[in-house]
Amino acid sequence: MVAVVLVLFSYHVPVSAQPWPGINQEGTKSSDSTNEFAEETAIVADPLKSFNRAMFQFNDKLYFYVLKPVAKGYKAVFPEPVRVSVRNALSNARMPVRVVNCVLQGKFCHTANELARFAVNTTFGIAGLFDPAKSCLKIEKHDEDFGQTLGFYGMKEVIPITWPFLGPSNVRDTIGLVGDTFTDPVLYVEPIVTSGTSTLNVLNETSLTLGDYEKFKESAIDPYISLREAYSQYRRNQIKE
């Protein structure tokens, strides 16, 4: 659904709002149905709304006029298994980001899993093109980043911000994004390789999720609000995990 955008800009969170109105994670009862919604329906502070909406429009046009046509061409050339392998390899290379943030959050089993995945996928998985760690050994990936680490230690999202090119974010995840540049190996190589890899990543992800953004937009009454909320909830959920 929101995958296109979420995958591209997976950074974010609010811990402030009660995540579930009346029904908590475990699906607990709600005492009074009116109360339970009272908090949740409170309007989220979005002081940059007009800027954010303008950026949303910009990204929307960018998707339809640039990203989508290019990704369609790319998709026509490379069959799906190839594109899945590209995704795997790029994700494998980002291991340090995940490991550092697993460590920072004291998630030792996750850290071990990530290191094991890297070892297995880099060797048996041929430079990360395949994911035998998951398919053979059932070791799941743990997507962690600095925005999540900040959220883990209680930092609130402050206010939502929509960035051009990057999409929905907030103050916390923007700081997180900057923090991740220190651990992302892609940023330690030649600038040309960095930008090439980032472009490939965006293109490849878009090609694997073509149509999702359209469907997401169709389902929304107000796509900007819908995306902002989806991002916020998605990040909240990631931090909780």
């Binding site: 579930w20 994670q25 699906g27 009862k29 949740e40 799906e80 009454i221 107000d222 989806a230 909830q233």
Partner: protein
């Protein structure tokens, strides 16, 4: 008394384990069973080759199943949140219909994305009349799994779904915030107008997208 020595005790434990140990983990709870039944029915319709080219008919069959598993009033009430109580019975009826149509349209388009993904039920939590059933949709080709939570409410002996979360993103919650912001920044009437406009324009847009996705 009956178990005079350790060996007998051990044998007893093994027998108990073999008898119940197998049964307990295999038996899913009632909400999961009911949900599974409905989802199997939908998958059967989707897999039916004779319906592949008869999309409107296929959609109708699917919607019949969906109607029998979803509590639309509960879903709408929650989506409107505090604004539900302020509505007259007629307005409530109208809004339930609008919301239902919107979700139907949204998900009928998503049906085209189905390529034989598998659904695995992970766990179930029941608290009184509320249940959360956690499942995963597994796409083997892409090597991805998507976490989907179904939230259900017990009505009589039936568990009716009122919300679905995908990767932690609750559909209801998302609509609730959209509805609330539109009502607060303009009015309920404006929201209804927007919903209606969506239905009108939405049908053209959806036929456009389905054409595009075929390319």
């Amino acid at each position: 008394m009956y178990l005079r020595n350790k060996r007998q005790l051990l044998a007893f434990v093994i027998i108990v384990f073999l008898t119940f140990g197998w049964i307990i983990p295999v038996r899913a709870g009632v909400p999961t069973e009911q949900l599974k039944e409905k989802i199997d029915a939908i998958r059967k319709i989707l897999d039916d080759p004779s319906l592949k080219d008869r999309k409107p008919a296929r959609m109708e069959f699917i919607m019949n199943v969906v109607d029998s598993m979803v509590d639309w009033q509960e879903a709408t009430r929650r989506a409107l949140g505090i604004h539900w109580k302020k509505r007259t019975p007629q307005e409530k009826e109208e809004f339930i219909a609008l919301f239902k149509d919107l979700l139907k349209k949204t998900y009928s388009d998503k049906m085209d994305l189905y390529t034989g993904e598998e659904i695995v039920f992970d766990s179930e939590n029941i608290d009184g009349d509320y249940a959360v059933v956690k499942a995963k949709i597994i796409n083997k080709k892409k090597g991805t799994d998507i976490a989907v939570d179904f939230r259900a409410l017990k009505k009589g002996d039936k568990w009716l779904t009122y919300d679905i979360s995908v990767e932690g993103i609750s559909v209801l919650n998302n609509y609730r915030v959209q509805f609330a912001e539109i009502i607060v920044s303009s009015s309920y009437e404006e929201l209804v107008k927007k919903m209606k406009r969506k239905q009108g324009i939405g049908s053209q847009a959806s036929s456009k997208t389905s054409k595009e996705s075929k390319q």
